[in-house]
């Protein structure tokens, strides 16, 4: 956990400790650790002299600030209308079949978490998904298999 404290202090030094720096700091921690544990939030609260409940309330508002343990690679498949029309369910099934997890679940080796998300802004190349910050568009079941195989190899 010391690593986290160091990270938080470093982020606070970098961004500042005022309330308007809360989001960049939360994002910085999620970038490194994939999610915010309760201990992490307490540390952030102390560092910024904020109530812990406020940190939790703010973080839990944002879909990308996960507070449940996430796998190393978070797959977010878009489920909004155009992607839904263009076959996102087949994409989901492919991923579920490959990784043996359902939506909201994490693989046993803690490598992948599968989630759904809302419009990613790639409707003209639907269906689309994010894996962490990388965007993948014009997905087909075959392409998904290719992409995931690369990640599995990593």
């Amino acid at each position: 956990m010391d690593q986290t404290t160091g990270l938080i202090t470093q982020l606070a030094e970098q961004h500042g400790r005022t309330r308007d720096k809360l989001l960049p700091i939360l994002q910085g921690v999620v970038e490194q650790e994939n999610y915010l544990s309760d201990e992490t939030m307490i540390k952030i609260a102390r560092e910024l002299d904020l109530p812990a409940a406020e940190v939790f309330g703010t973080a839990s508002f944002y879909s990308f600030l996960e507070y449940k343990k996430m796998g190393k690679y978070v797959i977010r498949v878009c489920k909004t209308i155009t992607c839904a029309m263009k076959g996102k369910n087949q994409i989901l099934l492919t991923i579920e079949d490959m990784l043996k997890i359902g939506v909201g679940e994490t693989t046993n080796d803690k490598k992948f978490t599968l989630l759904q998300t809302n419009c990613l802004g790639w409707c003209h190349k639907a269906p689309a998904m994010l894996i962490n910050d990388e965007v993948y568009t014009e997905l087909t079941p075959e392409r998904v298999r290719e992409i995931l195989s690369e990640y599995i190899k990593k």
């Binding site: 308007d20 989001l23 960049p24 994002q27 508002f61 209308i81």
Partner: protein
């Protein structure tokens, strides 16, 4: 298609921006009031969906008295079916930055922000590079203005201007009470101009070519061009810059797949127009569709006859139910009631007449919700239920 279409293509937005430095420096020399008048006379309206007159917004902010002012570029593009801002920021970011600089000059702001949605994080490195270059030039010409990127974290509601500012201030993205308006009390309580990416890109065009060039395009109340994000059942998905005021029929003739059943204009918070109304509907800020200005960010989603309108509405309501900030009663509970309501009618647990109760509910939401999200659910709900009622019933 042997049909004659009246869509007027234009190419102002994505045209090269290499002269941005010249445009910036020469515009900064001009009189501020003159610039405001130019912008007002162009009749440019906000391109994010709300359609507020941009010139007026910049004017009000310039008149506000404060020790600090801000310019914010709203790049939290999240309306389903909209993807044009991403393209602008990728291809012609300097137009946006320059327009922000001009706005700062006019209003007296010295700091600018780009609220970039978290889903576009991959854009950040290149955008940072562009900003660096931009700031370097500003420094060269002694212009006190710097820009910072603020990254979002996955919340559609943060596209609402006051929710965006709440988010930037480190809070939950919950819309504020209006008044006060951002032009008087915005980011950190200071006068703030907050404009959509595309609006700023058009502003650049206006300052480069003059208001008349912009004004001469489009139609009355809907001057200029707009970027349309086209997707769905179309052989030509993509981004197109078109003059405003076109007829939806012409649009479908160009972009449809020959079997277009309906078009969703303006994303999930917009209107679904059925085939029988294509001819009588025009796309602009005072379209024939309703007396209220069309909340169009330019999202155009085409549905052909294989598509179930029930599934479409279900998808939208699911979206709103999740993305609502949850603070006000009509939106938080209303969205849940609408979603569970149409499911109940479809499954026969409620009679078809229950749809009328739900329509009344959306009217209440439109009248009482605290922000545009709750107020706009009625648009797609009523247009889909009224035009495709038979698909809603068991």
């Amino acid at each position: 298609m042997a049909v004659q279409y009246n869509l007027k293509r234009a190419d102002f937005i994505f045209r090269n921006e290499n002269d941005w430095e010249k445009i910036l420096s020469r515009t900064l020399q001009r009189d501020k009031q003159e610039l405001i008048n130019e912008l007002i006379s162009s009749e440019l309206k906000g391109r994010g969906g709300a359609g507020f007159p941009t010139g007026l917004k910049w004017k009000l902010t310039s008149e506000a008295k404060a020790d600090q002012k801000y310019v914010i570029c709203n790049a939290d593009e999240g309306e389903p079916g909209t993807f044009k801002d991403r393209e602008i920021l990728t291809k012609v970011p300097f137009k946006v930055l320059t327009a922000m600089g001009i706005c700062a000059h006019i209003t007296g702001a010295t700091k600018g922000y780009i609220y970039l949605r978290g889903e576009y994080k991959f854009l950040r490195p290149d955008l940072e590079k562009a900003i660096k270059e931009f700031e370097y030039y500003c420094n060269e010409i002694d212009f006190d203005f710097s820009i910072e990127i603020f990254l979002g974290s996955g919340a559609y509601i943060c596209g609402e201007e006051t929710a965006l500012m709440e988010s930037m201030e480190g809070y939950r993205g919950e819309p504020r009470n209006k008044p006060p308006f951002p032009t008087n009390e915005g980011f950190m309580g200071k006068p703030t101009v907050i404009n959509n990416v595309e609006t700023l890109a058009h502003a650049f065009t206006i300052f480069k070519h003059g208001a008349k060039k912009f004004y001469d395009l489009g139609v009355q109340f809907s001057r200029g061009t707009k970027l349309f994000s086209v997707s769905g059942d179309t052989p030509k998905p993509g981004i197109y810059e078109l003059e405003l005021g076109m007829s939806l029929q012409d649009f479908v003739d160009e972009f449809g797949d020959g079997d277009t059943k309906a078009v969703q204009v303006g994303g999930a918070s917009g209107f679904l127009v059925p085939r029988k109304r294509f001819g009588e509907t025009s796309i602009g800020y005072k379209g024939k569709l309703t007396g209220i200005s069309l909340p169009t960010g330019g999202s155009m989603m085409l549905f052909n006859s294989t598509r179930s309108m029930f599934n479409v509405l279900d998808n939208y309501l699911e979206f709103f139910r999740e993305e609502s900030c949850g603070q006000c009663t009509p939106c938080r509970v209303g969205c849940q009631q609408l979603l569970i309501g149409i499911k109940a009618v479809k499954q026969g647990q409620k009679p078809a007449s229950y749809l009328d109760k739900l329509l009344k509910l959306t009217e209440t939401m439109q009248l009482t919700a605290k922000c545009g999200l709750g107020q706009s659910v009625a648009n797609s709900f009523s247009s889909i239920v009224e035009n495709f009622r038979e698909e809603m019933i068991y």
